[in-house]
Amino acid sequence: MQTQNVPTEELQGIVGEGHVREATAEDAVDGVGPSLVVEPATIEETSEVMKLASREGLAVSPCGGGTKMGLGNPPREVDLILSTARMDQIIEHVPGDQIVRAQAGVRLEDLQEKLAEADQMLGVDPPEEGATIGGIVAANSSGPRRLRYGTVRDLIIGIKVVLADGTVAKAGGKVVKNVAGYDLSKLFTGSLGTLGVIAEANFRLHPIRETARTVFLEVDDHNKIPDVAQELTHSSFSQFVLDALEMRWERDRGVIAALFEGIEPAVVAQSSRAVEVLGSHGETRVLGEDDGEAFWEHFARRPWAAGDVGLKIGAPPADLAAVLDSIVGAAERADAEIRLSGHAGTGVTFAGFSGDEDGLVEIVEEVREIRVRRGGSVVVQEAPLAVKERLDAWGSSGDYLGLTRRVKEKFDPGYIMNPGRFLGGI
């Protein structure tokens, strides 16, 4: 790694002496250590920091809660970590308009707590604890309720960003319906800090629903899961009725679970219908609101731990059987242990593997090869560094890589934002 001449004093002049610190080993991004961690308090300060970084050619990694710094490929270099921790204000919550404007560093838990005072919520529920708004937008995090509310791209209505050269720009606004100008809020969603720093985001909100019921079924054959999922999504339950439809598979046992949220009579009626549908496949259980909460807390977690390889597979929902087969088959051949979870209603499957390095690499290659043929993607979301170095985190990207590069080129011509972590080495 080339070390840059980092003008510490100048940075201190921008954000205050106490808010620039020497990086420690813990700040390293996939083994690549930055020199300094900088914590601007405002957009203006962020802009000044970026101007300086641009001028000096310093590589910058924006960081929120730090829950997803391992996402993507190892960076080519990191000089500064730009922490949004101090930009933690909820700027505006207007319950009557069902919108909120928040700075990037606001933690999702804190935001939800504040919104709950008005019986409202933001409809994203990623499982990580401590994630911030900026990080959630940048990583396009989602959770089980995406079946009902969609993902960040569906809920974000405005954004304020700071580009690599310090330019501050906004797009969208604070109304839920708005088609003025290009929708940069969506462009920045999932951009993993490679287009600029997300400083603020505005969202549409939803009412918190009165009560909830969970219906689940245990299966001992993974082939049953796709059938049950299809049956549920194509009975009268589907998007905008069902809040979540999730699966888990571990040690030859699986569970498929449906979540209904809403007003009491509706939830009761819906869940008993679901019991009827699932009943033909085996014994079903119903959980009330409180038991359900504990159930989902565990159920929605990613099925991997540090040291494992964790994959996110996006496939057509009706192709779930092939997805599961390919994973189970590959793991068997490589003699690896697997755990699966997934948003069965929307075609997202998470797979965690543990085993020896060569086996893990083989599994990823095999699952990818099948997915390329059948449509979809396989992204490595978690892996030991040794494995990461042997694989591209994103896999093949189809015919849009050239366009993707041109977008990057325009927003960050110096390639100082998170260089190397994104698709195609961007």
Binding site: S54, G57, V94, P95, G96, D97, D119, N140, T151, D154, L163, T167, A169, K170, G173, V175, K177, N178, V179, A180, G181, Y182, D183, L184, K186, L187, G190, L195, P207, I208, H234, S238, V241, I263, P265, A266, A269, G314, P316, P317, T346, G347, V348, G375, G395, S397, G398, Y400, L401, G402, R406, V407, K410, F411, P413, G414, Y415, G420, L423, G424
Partner: protein, 484 residues
Amino acid sequence: MDRGQLIETMQEILGPEGVIHEREQLRTYECDGLMNYRVIPDLVVLPESAEQVQQIVQTCYDEGIPFVARGSGTGLSGGALPVESGVLIVLTRMRRILEVDIPNGRVVVEPGVINIWVSQEVADEGYYYAPDPASQIVSSIGGNLAENSGGVHCLKYGFTTNHVMGAEVVLADGSVVHIGGGKAPDAPGYELLGAFVGSEGTLGIATKITLRILRKPEAVRTLLAAFKDTEEAGGAVSGIIGGGIVPAAIEMMDALTIEAVEKQVSPGFPEAGAILIVELDGPEAEVANQFDQVIKVCEENDASEIRIAEDDEERALFWKGRKAAFGAMGSISNDYYVQDGVVPRTELGAVLKKIADLSEEYDLRVANVFHAGDGNLHPLVLYDNDTPGEADKAEELAGEIVFACLEHGGSLTGEHGIGRDKMKYMPQMFTADDMDVMQLLRCAFDPHRICNPGKIFPTPRLCGERPGPFHMHPVQKAGLAENF
């Protein structure tokens, strides 16, 4: 290439039927639904396949000729307004529904497919396509995508952007890309599809579009409530939404609109200062319960009459009245200008008041019909073109109305787009930097600005490299890039 050669080349690609070059015939395409801007294109071409679109665009690119895509031409912001000495690419012959995939809840269509056809195609299977602009029996999916069109049911179900899952796009340089996962979720990389939808035809031409379809709701209930004035009706809107209900639709019409609609299509609406149409859909038990709540809220806000649609026929009648609103203005005024602005819902009252004041000040009638749930106003400014100066006055008044929307924290447009019409207002909503940064995207997609130029942005940005010391391409250096 001179015009003659261009015609010849296009005829080679499309056959003689596919090229229109006689001035009189070209006139058919001189404007879209916004008739006060007119430009006669040099040439109109009517491709029948994505390959032909690619060849047309490639030719334009090689020759540096600007082009504009056009669907059904119902746009209300001049988005499909041709450019002088440019080619207009009309997509009305690309009308095939290519695939219906019920297990994955997807339909793949060509861009010229009419919105309503999608729902018709999957109705028997119990599915439908949710975005329902009032123009849905004529407007194309390609046009809907480009404008990110909304409809009365978008409050609950989202706009076009929430239902377009993938697109094949011919870029300005003739290359073809597939963006968005289509049937698979969460395609890796930038959210290019989200940026493309709503870009008003300035980032490329969609030649194949994957749409999400939804199960038809189990139950639908609709009511119509009459109020003394828009303020009371607005109170009911706040009450309903504040009560945690997300109606499928909630539309408001004021007295002038009601009058016009009655004259035109006689839906038998009650005489009132304002009417709300509220529709709930979803699971039976939920709808039944919340419908009672809606009735209660309307009563609490002194509704003078509440009519409940007893069957699909009566529901259709309510909607017929609402959807006829724009056209019905012809029955009470020679000319009218359709404005499209957005305000935060809580500012509705204040802005309606301001509109009433402006109407008085300009001495022009303004009818209000709007998507009350999301604060998307459609003030219709009535005027008479034969009265000298009145058209200009009407446009000025319409401008004042969107400024009022902005002042109250809203937007210049909720669904009709900026197009040609509102370019001049963009600096009121966005700073020069905001617009410059948006145009970085344009530079990535279409650096030579040949794809629908002269729309959205009042000042085009040059796409050349920005000056600065840091100009290496590390990706290229690292040997990772082959195609910059």
